[in-house]
């Protein structure tokens, strides 16, 4: 089965997924920059702002498995459309919040709506992209978050100054809704094409997972292994992003401006490494990905160790630039392996389960931080 089932070429499908994930990332990251203005306007204290920033993750984690299952059951197109329209509406509503309670409710539902997007996107890749190109598609899909990470501070600082935090969320919500409409119209299977390709089952009409399929998935070792890898990788990723800056400033006496430049390195190199990782993984012989994953796990551990123990700032820069390479390989393997090796009928559920591993990491870190 390929992208022509939707009347589109696979490149267009991957581009749409990239745009959707970019909007999803922006919606998620912008609040980190707007929170100071929000707190001031709504007169919130530190614990309330912490709650606002973290409540999203609860809804997001909660929807991972149901979102994947819904995509398997009802098709990726419908779930992606509902998800992107849903999270765009609630991004817009963030700008209309009038109290702490309303903001918490809006951000929680925003998390619920966005939670089904990633597994449904993975499902779309699994049913529309040829197997030998799925790692590349997944790498491009994932790289959108790196781009969002670079674009969010630039957009936020400009928009916060020009139009304020309320309009910033409304504008991003409208942009997301427009991308959502693109999904609905461009991913619509063409009736004429359906007739011509009647020998092959259509994506939206393909058999949903049978009763008991989810139980089989729970007993599948690859899902648990990748879930553990996802948890561990997420922990390292979060750790290096959050503890490194403090360490470099407090312990190594690094200038804040130099730190700002250093922080851009993983974001810029990350995008290139994602695309490279996807290309390499599609070339690796099936079954050998595990060696690449294992080597990258050791590689990332070494980079973290070397980065913290480097004698010079140049050393820190070198190791910090190499770390995204291992990180990109790990995340592309973690999310492309299930859609390459598991049956298409359970692709969404499998990716939802594996991504939940990363979200459990987030919840546990927040608990540890609080304690």
């Amino acid at each position: 089965m390929n992208g022509s089932t939707y009347g589109l070429n696979p490149k267009m499908i991957v581009f749409l997924l990239f745009m959707g994930n970019l909007i999803s990332g922006l919606d998620r990251f912008l609040i980190n920059y707007g929170i100071v203005h929000i707190s001031k306007d709504l007169q919130l204290n530190a614990s309330s702002t912490g709650l606002i920033l973290s409540i999203f993750f609860l809804g997001y984690a909660f929807m991972q498995i149901p979102g994947g299952w819904l995509a398997d059951r009802f098709g990726a197109r419908l779930v992606l459309f509902i998800s992107i329209i849903g999270f765009s509406i609630f991004t817009g509503l963030t700008g209309l919040a009038w109290s702490l309670a309303s903001l918490i409710a809006v951000r929680f539902i925003f998390g619920l709506a966005e939670g089904s997007f990633f597994p449904a996107g993975a499902k779309l890749i699994s049913v529309t992209i040829p197997q030998e190109k799925r790692s590349r598609a997944m790498s491009f899909y994932l790289s959108a978050l790196t781009v969002a990470g670079v674009a969010a501070p630039l957009l936020a600082t400009t928009m916060l100054l020009q139009i304020g935090w309320r309009m910033m969320f409304v504008v991003i919500g409208v942009c997301g809704s427009l991308v959502g409409l693109l999904y609905w119209f461009y991913l619509k299977p063409k009736k004429e094409q359906q007739r011509q390709e009647s020998e092959q089952p259509l994506v939206e009409q393909s058999a949903p997972p049978a009763k008991g399929a989810f139980k089989v998935l729970l007993k599948t070792p690859i899902v648990w292994s990748l879930m553990i890898a996802s948890f561990a990788y997420g922990f390292i990723s979060w750790g290096t992003a959050s503890w490194m800056p403090t360490y470099l400033v407090n312990e190594r006496g690094l200038d804040l401006q130099v730190l700002g430049v250093l922080q851009m390195i993983p974001a810029v190199t990350g995008f290139a490494f994602f695309l490279l990782a996807g290309y390499i993984l599609d070339k690796v012989k099936s079954g050998n990905e595990k060696w690449l994953g294992a080597a990258s796990g050791i590689g990332i551990a070494c980079m973290v160790y070397l980065m913290f123990n480097a004698q010079t700032i140049t050393g820190v820069v070198i190791y910090q630039s190499l770390l995204p390479m291992f990180a990109a390989v790990l995340s592309v393997i973690i999310f492309s392996l299930p859609i390459k090796q598991l049956p298409e009928a359970v692709g969404g559920s499998a990716v939802g389960m594996i991504n939940l591993g990363m979200q459990i990491r987030d919840s546990s870190l927040r608990y540890l931080s609080a304690s």
């Binding site: 699994s126 197997q131 058999a207 997972p209 049978a210 009763k211 008991g212 399929a213 139980k215 089989v216 998935l217 007993k219 599948t220 070792p221 690859i222 292994s225 990748l226 553990i228 890898a229 561990a232 990788y233 922990f235 390292i236 750790g239 290096t240 503890w243 403090t246 360490y247 312990e251 099936s286 079954g287 595990k290 060696w291 994953g293 294992a294 080597a295 990258s296 796990g297 050791i298 590689g299 990332i300 551990a301 070494c302 973290v304 160790y305 913290f308 123990n309 790990l330 393997i333 390459k340 090796q341 598991l342 049956p343 298409e344 009928a345 359970v346 870190l365 540890l368 931080s369």
Partner: protein, 50 residues
Amino acid sequence: MIDLFNGSYSGVVWLLVAFGIVCCLAFLKLNSRKENAPDETVETGIPASR
């Protein structure tokens, strides 16, 4: 979080290194391709992807 290690950054670093090793072990636990994926069965009706 750093307080859990009495303000020691090296404790945090070793924790991250440990997670890298966990990640490596999780991949090493994977079997070869065929053993990873469930085959099509009458009970589940999951079609094999290829």
